[in-house]
Amino acid sequence: MSWFESWHMPRWFYQMGSPKWFFEIGGRLQPWFMVAAIAMITWGLLWGLLYAPADYQQGNSFRIMYVHVPAAILSQSIFVMMAVTGLIGLVWKMKVAFMVARSCTLIGASFTALALITGAVWGKPTWGTYWVWDARLTSTLIMLFLYTGVIALNQAIADRSIAGRATAILSIVGTINIPVIKYSVEWWNTLHQSSSFSLTAKPTMPAEMYIPLLLMVVGCYSLIVWLVLQRTRNEILDQERQASWVARYLEER
């Protein structure tokens, strides 16, 4: 066999595919992620809310950034994670991968909606209007549509395995399209912009403003991992309820 025919993923990769293994290891890791999430989000929020100096142009409304930016970043990351785990499920035929992908859908959609609404509320004191069709908000709106499509498809197909495969295909096509969509929306936006404003495009922020943002982003990532682990483990319990290891696990609780 040539080297690439005999090449395999590392062992832990296949182990993750075992529902029992994922359930147990995930269960042990979850508390750590929750602790990290609580610590960093609390620290980041308190710092950003109370201690960071007000922005020169925007005043105190810039503090919305500490919620809006993590939500926006996460909504995109979760979509990609959904597509990647879907791809893994398709290629390596792993049930657990589809379960992870499914867990991402509602979490990602809710964070996308949060990003949209906080972005819109931020707009009012900044530009005087609640909604503006700028490139970022419009792209996020389209991403929300993509999410709802995935969720709708998931609900429409009864068989879990087929649903997993179909939504994987959809999320992959959606992800590949995201750069195209973003590019076309940015281009469209520059075409129609009447006033040249730029939403806080990560300007050089002083450290006191920037670090709480970093804390929030990492803290939210931790939270998302906890959420995905929890939902995937729920899904595993649901689908593997007949297995003997589930019975043993329940006895020990």
Partner: protein, 224 residues
Amino acid sequence: MLGFMYSVIRRDLLLVMRHPAEMVNPLVFFVLVIALFPMGVSPEASLLSQTAAGVVWVAALLATLLSLDILFKADYADGSLEQLLLTSHPAWALVIAKVIVHWLVSGLPLVIMSPLVATMLFLPADAIPTLLLGLLIGTPTLSLFGAVGAALVTGVKSGGMLISLLVLPLYIPVLLFGTGAVAAAVLGMPVGGYMAYLGAMLVFALMVTPWAAATALKVGQMQG
């Protein structure tokens, strides 16, 4: 393989021609939706001409969406889709063949009709060739992405509304560039760049969608 594609195209075209409604309905819908705008918004020429490009393109998107059923539904219902997938020919070739038929039956008539409806909406005459060309390049892309949506919902009841949810976000870039091109043409600016983008998206769709739709069809075959 080309012979296979040719025979699929011929068969599907014959089937469509026996039910001319399948050909005419998307077109009637297209014109009807466009006619709704002067009625619902305003019949004033100045207002209509500004929105004409967008209205025509949105109507084209919706008409394409509605006609996606013809791609796989009938063949799925009577089992011939399964047979076609079981042949030794690649499934993506089947998808391309069916998309060609779909475009000939729904996209091409829209393109031909577009100068007429654009005039109804008072689009400046200089911009009409740009609208035409944009639709010509864009509608196959719409058919291709539509095929992915249609393939994903084969076998799902009430898949019609679902397809729209799945496919419309993917249509947005085509819409933006198509209408942008017309806006540029109205201002007398060159449209080559827009056409290039539309062409690039068509190529991109050709690379991605046949695989995706074929996989989705095979996945859909697993149920029932």
